[in-house]
């Protein structure tokens, strides 16, 4: 082996990497929040009897699920740029991830709505609750429980996916890593450090999610 590892520069830059890790968390979390809201709307649109709403939802969902995420980022970058729409690198990543998350989450939500037994809604209505009351008090809490796990997975997926930001010039963890590595040419060392940080972020998310689930779903 002809290669000498240089770890010191990586250690020196660790604060920068960790800071970039926070950006990663920020952009993925934001994209989850936006994706959840949009996903819920898309799920309802897809279940609605309105044809245009259904078609809009289906188009969005299928495009998001059947093309590469990187392609979607490029699209929101240079694709839209062709029409004179300019998003900053941060917005490209945020919009791209939110678009993708919404597509995947919508399907989860739809599955969740369908998994709550219809008698739950009927039971609520038979007690005199309005449609809105039955939906918000009885159905949605149960849907939330069903989609909680898939949502956690989507959050992890969003964190992993956010690394694509590197390809469109946003300096979250992967982008910052590439930036630092390109200055010192120690690609392997830097990216190994990044890999470890990603791993830790993912584990923290999963741990927190488990903790939260334990608090939220005592009734199981």
């Amino acid at each position: 082996m002809d290669y000498n590892f240089h770890w010191r520069p990586v250690f020196n830059k660790l604060p920068d990497l960790l800071e970039a890790g926070l950006l990663t968390l920020e952009v993925s979390l934001l994209s989850m929040v936006i994706g959840t809201v949009l996903g819920l709307l898309l799920a309802l649109a897809k279940l609605s009897p309105l044809k245009p709403a259904r078609w809009f939802a289906i188009t969005w969902i299928e495009l998001a699920r059947n093309t590469p995420a990187l392609f979607q980022l490029f699209f929101f970058g240079f694709g839209l740029g062709a029409f004179g729409w300019h998003l900053s690198p941060f917005l490209i990543v945020l919009v791209g991830l939110s678009f993708n998350n919404a597509g995947y989450l919508a399907e989860n939500f739809r599955g969740g709505f369908q998994a709550v037994p219809e008698n739950q809604y009927r039971a609520a209505r038979s007690l005199g609750m309005t449609a809105f009351q039955a939906t918000t008090r009885i159905v949605i809490p149960q849907v939330f429980k069903i989609v909680y796990h898939p949502m956690t997975n989507q959050m992890v997926w969003a964190v992993l996916m956010s690394s694509l930001a590197m390809m469109v010039g946003y300096r979250e963890l992967a982008g910052e890593t590439q930036f630092l590595a390109s200055k010192t040419f120690r690609i392997f060392e830097y990216f190994l450090a990044a890999a470890v940080i990603y791993y830790v972020i993912v584990k923290i998310i999963l741990g927190l999610s488990r903790l939260l689930a334990w608090r939220l779903f005592r009734y199981e």
Binding site: E62, N66, A82, M161, M167, F188, A195
Partner: protein
Amino acid sequence: MNETVTFFSGFKINDLFFLGEAALQTLMIAAISISSGTLLGAICGWGLAEGKTVVRWTLNSILDVFRSVPLLIQLILFYNLFPIIGFDLGPFASGIIVLSMYTCALVASVVRGGIESVQQPMRRAARSLGMSYLQSMRHVIFPIGLRAVLPSWIGVALGVLKDSALVSVLGYVELLRASQILMTRTQEPFLILALAGAFYFALSYPLSRYSKQLEERWAS
């Protein structure tokens, strides 16, 4: 400047061939990675479902890494690691190795789920007829588990097909990279992205529809 040398030129017919060739590369990378990853993943999944605690724990923690670190980072890491440890693997080989391991990790959990979905009762029924462990695996658990697994396996395969776009980061000219090259040469980002997107979509959409149908058919 010499008139015969042009650096930029519009989109031409033979660029379609260039894209087509790149699409073939995408398919090839995906096909090889999916098949080798599936094979490996099936073995690992069996170990996860039926192995001793030590085996399960070890396998799980290794495979977990592939699921918790962005694929992009994995690709860069291994691409730079192989030459360091003395193998000069090009982007193609590196990409396939990383994608295969990634596929393996995903397939393993799918297969584990499949084996576990053939619940105790079915195994007991098989064993109570006098079948040996291997006979019950081969004639009962495996064929029934396969049904449970096939839709999710298609999901994994489509995911890998889309993720193969990331091999572009190693400079390998697959579909998305080719689009990028053409995009900057021809200044027609929208047209070219639309072509690439359509290719992925045309491949992914029917298959995901099919897998949904399978799921519904076999759910009953």
